[in-house]
């Protein structure tokens, strides 16, 4: 196959061509309440060709991996229709490598029966909690072998294993319905989702607790974010804005996102990097064959870097960061985050809430989205803070704000960094991409909270 790929890349009038072939298998298990509703296996074989001609792109995806030569020709032809100027594409060293998945307990080797037994146990814990109406469990694992080759001589085979698990407990009483979820994941280690009985039990009890909780009053508050939610904040509020594909063709946004600009206090450091090992967003090479890096987006409050593909880096005169990712062969790679986190500071949780007379402590992730300037994310759990103490439980709240203002309103950063491996990121129709995000506890002044 390697020779066939190399042959089909030769002799075309294109500035750059790449071929990606992908073989994958996956398992999915879904519970709703006491029913195991779906258990299924899938496998897939497909690929794509991407060609660059005079700044224009052609992209062809297919399941039939024969006649690669024809697909390359079609992609080049399409790119030629689009291309009208000189291509800009960062130079890269050609690489030949085979990367195998490093797995502690590969889910592919765990019997379906054992997986089911584990989820049965979690489900029983949720459903046996009084006032719990029902549960949802969604489990996915998958192994993908990706063969990547380009017209510059790079040939890389990478195998990746991903696991994700989402549990939700749904409590109901007097027509009220409340839920709490728990999202977990791992790059290839099934044991990361084992032994969670105590966590699952607490989750179910918290969902019941929400039934009698009041809703927050909408308005501006001092909010304290736990590591999970602060990680989502780093991802949504700042991470997406750091993706250079939003910026590279947009002069006005470039003026806003100028490197060296002050975005926050000197204690604020935000990092993204697939080179940080062992996390769901970790890898050796991105989907353009560029080695992974660890990139400081904000260092000591100053915008230092952004996330790049080869094209965005070249157009902005910066270096590629290895952040071009495609969720699968049906899509071309675009600029994506990997593992995104706020670096820890020095304060304890007690220090952070010590001078808050009235505020809201928000915990755990429910969702989040951004329009670059405005972001919104929701906490699964919230408590009032009164006179420096955690007070009554509130219904889940949605926080929203303007990234430029909010980052500068972060005035305290904890010392307790935790990474969250659950969930996934969506962009340009490609979802859910395995990522992780994290943070220590942080405090934000004047944050907008939706409520009654």
């Amino acid at each position: 196959m390697q020779d066939e790929i190399a042959n089909s890349l030769r002799g075309h009038k294109a500035d750059y061509i790449e071929i990606r072939l992908e073989e994958s298998k996956a398992t999915r298990i879904i519970y709703r309440g006491n029913r195991l509703e779906e258990i299924g296996r899938t496998s897939s074989l497909g690929g794509n060709v991407r060609a660059l001609v005079k700044g224009g792109w052609g992209f062809v995806s297919f399941n039939n991996v024969n006649k690669l030569q024809d697909k390359v020709e079609l992609a080049v032809k399409q790119a030629s229709i689009v291309g009208k100027e000189a291509s800009k594409f960062s130079p890269a060293k050609s690489v030949t490598d085979v990367v195998t998945a490093e797995t502690r307990k590969n889910p592919m080797t765990v019997q379906l029966a054992s997986k089911k037994q584990l989820f049965d146990e979690y489900n029983d814990i949720i459903l046996s909690t009084p006032k719990i109406q029902t549960s949802n469990i969604g489990y996915n694992d998958g192994q993908r072998k990706i063969t990547f080759a380009n017209s510059e001589g790079t040939y890389i085979e990478q195998t990746k294993v991903d696991i994700s698990l989402r549990l939700a407990a749904i409590a109901s009483e007097n027509g009220q319905v409340q839920q709490i979820g728990l999202s977990l994941g791992s790059q290839g280690d099934f044991s990361a989702i084992e032994g969670l009985q105590e966590q699952v039990k607490q989750m179910a009890q918290r969902a019941v607790g929400l039934l009698s909780a009041p809703q927050a009053k909408g308005g501006e508050y001092t909010v304290v974010l736990d590591p999970v939610l602060a990680g989502v904040f780093a991802h949504e509020a700042f991470g997406h804005l750091s993706e250079a594909d939003h910026v590279y063709e947009n002069k006005r946004l470039q003026d806003i996102m100028v490197l060296g600009r002050k975005f926050g206090s000197e204690h604020l450091n935000i990092v993204d990097g697939a080179a940080v090992p062992g996390l769901r967003g970790s890898y050796k090479y991105d989907d353009e064959g560029i080695p992974a890096t660890k990139t400081y987006l904000i260092r000591e409050g100053i915008l230092e870097n952004r996330l790049h593909s080869r094209e965005t880096a070249a157009k902005m005169g910066e270096k590629p960061t290895g952040n071009a990712r495609a969720i699968n062969y049906l899509f071309p790679p675009i600029v994506r985050m990997t593992n995104t986190y706020i670096e820890p500071g020095t304060l304890s949780f007690g220090d952070i809430i010590s001078d808050i007379r009235e505020g809201i402590y928000v915990k755990d992730w429910y969702g989040g989205t951004t329009s670059l300037e405005m972001f919104t994310f929701s906490a699964a759990e919230a408590y009032m803070i009164r006179n420096s103490k955690i007070a009554e439980l509130l219904r889940p709240v949605v926080l929203s704000g303007n990234v430029f203002v909010t980052l500068s309103n972060i005035d305290a950063i904890g010392n307790d960094l935790q990474m969250n491996q659950g969930g996934g990121c969506g962009k340009g129709g490609q979802s859910p991409l395995p990522v992780s995000n994290g943070s220590p506890h942080i405090r934000i002044r004047r944050c907008l909270v939706g409520g009654s």
Binding site: V60, S61, N63, I81, I170, G218, F377
Partner: protein
């Protein structure tokens, strides 16, 4: 496919093979210029078995080795859910128009020209805007066969034009956009350009708004981005059966405003969500969810319907796995108020054009709470500008229980919802500026 079915029949009581193949050509404009042309071919084959009374499932994308697919499905059977249904016998399907052969006549050049024209039109209005546009044409073929003799197949053509514009002034970003989908080729960019220009006009200047309860008008885009997700989950037969829907005991009860009706309709000609049969081979139909405010029906696939002791409504849809209940096209009844009549009645209020994050709230309970990405302030019966840093929170059952007015400005949004603007008398609005 026949080969898979015959092998599967040897090892299982019942079997069903579902195959979808598609070919689509999307082209993308970025920063006002053509950036990429794509060509995507995809084929997916799924096998569902009932063996030992339990459901097994496997799916392969790409070329199939029938025995491998059967083996994978058999492995899952032992753990699968007990099957409460039989695969459908031969049926007579309604004739639903989902294919327009004119789609083949659309060339790449036509698509490029359409994109260039719409971007030029928008820039004529606002020269400094940066537009992203996508134009797609495609065809898909669906084929289902089962061991009970059931067989269905149909072709669908589809076309989409979507545009999103961003206008940045200092640190102020304005996002505008619209899209249109059809089984007919889309050749006219006019309605989308008109909508986007309307949004630009309304958002010409930024104005502050108070933090308090006030009247809110949801435009069709506002309805889809705020209110639909909680409704879709509440009418899902699966959530009803689980007891997780707030409407579970409300069949036949007046829950919504008397003037509010909502139905699902997979039979509408040339709508991209239409089909002669769903992904399990059940004939398509129109299913009323709310008739004059009264909850009248939930939507089902075969298995959920059997569990709930009712009939499938032809809403079994596959999203990469087993069929599950999903709406096709949703329609909200049209009212008689013009948009400007509704605006004219409001002294101080808000028009929600687009909300982000609304689905992150407790949608099971009907709660929504999100950031108004695009919204306009109403003062003394007139739209005076765009509001920013503003959140709206509410409960869909409270909003739809008493509507002030329903618009006559009905239109399709997101390819699956036909809705007018909805005017509700009071919602909680929180704003930084206030």
């Amino acid at each position: 496919m026949e080969d898979i079915l015959s092998q599967a029949k040897k090892v299982a009581e019942q079997a069903e093979v579902f195959q979808i193949s598609s070919k689509m050509t999307p082209i993308h404009f970025e920063a006002n210029r053509l950036k990429q042309i794509q060509d995507k071919e995809n084929i997916r084959t799924a096998l569902r078995l009932i063996k030992g009374g339990k459901v097994g499932f496997a799916q392969i994308s790409g070329s199939i080795e029938p025995s491998a697919l059967v083996e994978m499905a058999v492995e899952t059977c032992q753990f699968g859910m007990p099957a409460k249904f039989n695969f459908p016998n031969p049926k007579v399907y309604p004739k639903i128009d989902t294919f327009d052969s004119q789609i083949d006549a659309v060339t790449i050049d036509d698509m490029v020209e359409l994109g260039e024209q719409i971007i030029a039109k928008i820039r004529q209005h606002t020269s400094e805007i940066l537009c992203e546009a996508s134009i797609t044409r495609g065809i898909a073929s669906v084929h289902i066969i089962n061991s009970e003799g059931g067989e269905a197949s149909y072709n669908k053509s589809f076309s989409n034009l979507s545009l999103e514009g961003v206008l940045i002034k200092d640190e102020d970003m304005l996002f505008v956009g619209d899209s249109h989908s059809s089984c007919h080729p889309i050749l006219d960019f006019g309605p989308i350009a008109e909508e986007v220009i309307k949004q630009l006009e309304f958002a010409k200047r930024n104005v502050g708004i108070s933090t308090k309860s006030m009247p809110v008008i949801f435009t069709p885009h506002g309805v889809v981005s705020s209110l639909i997700a909680p409704l879709v989950s509440a009418f899902n037969g699966k959530l009803v059966f689980d007891g997780a829907s707030p409407l579970k005991d409300k069949l036949g009860e007046q829950v919504f405003d008397k003037s509010f009706s909502l139905w699902d309709d997979s039979t509408l000609p040339y709508q991209i969500a239409s089909y002669p049969c769903d992904d399990e081979g059940v004939p398509s139909q129109r299913t009323p969810f709310v008739e004059n405010g009264v909850v009248s029906h939930f939507f089902y696939d075969l298995q959920t319907a059997a569990l709930a002791n009712t009939q499938s409504t032809g809403n079994g849809s596959r999203h990469g796995g087993l069929p599950t209940p999903s709406p096709s096209s949703l329609v909200i009844s049209k009212g008689d108020a013009s948009f400007w009549d509704m605006v004219g009645d409001i002294k101080e209020g808000l028009v929600v054009e687009l909300m982000i994050g609304a689905e992150q709230g407790n949608i099971l309970n009907g709660d929504f709470s999100g950031n108004v990405l695009l919204g306009y302030k109403i003062e003394n019966g007139e739209i005076t500008g765009r509001v920013k840093d503003t959140m709206v929170a509410g409960n869909v059952y409270q909003v739809l229980k008493q509507l002030e007015a329903i618009g006559n400005d009905t239109r399709w949004v997101e390819g699956f919802l036909l809705t007018p603007s909805l005017h509700c008398s009071s919602l909680s609005v929180a704003s930084k500026a206030g």
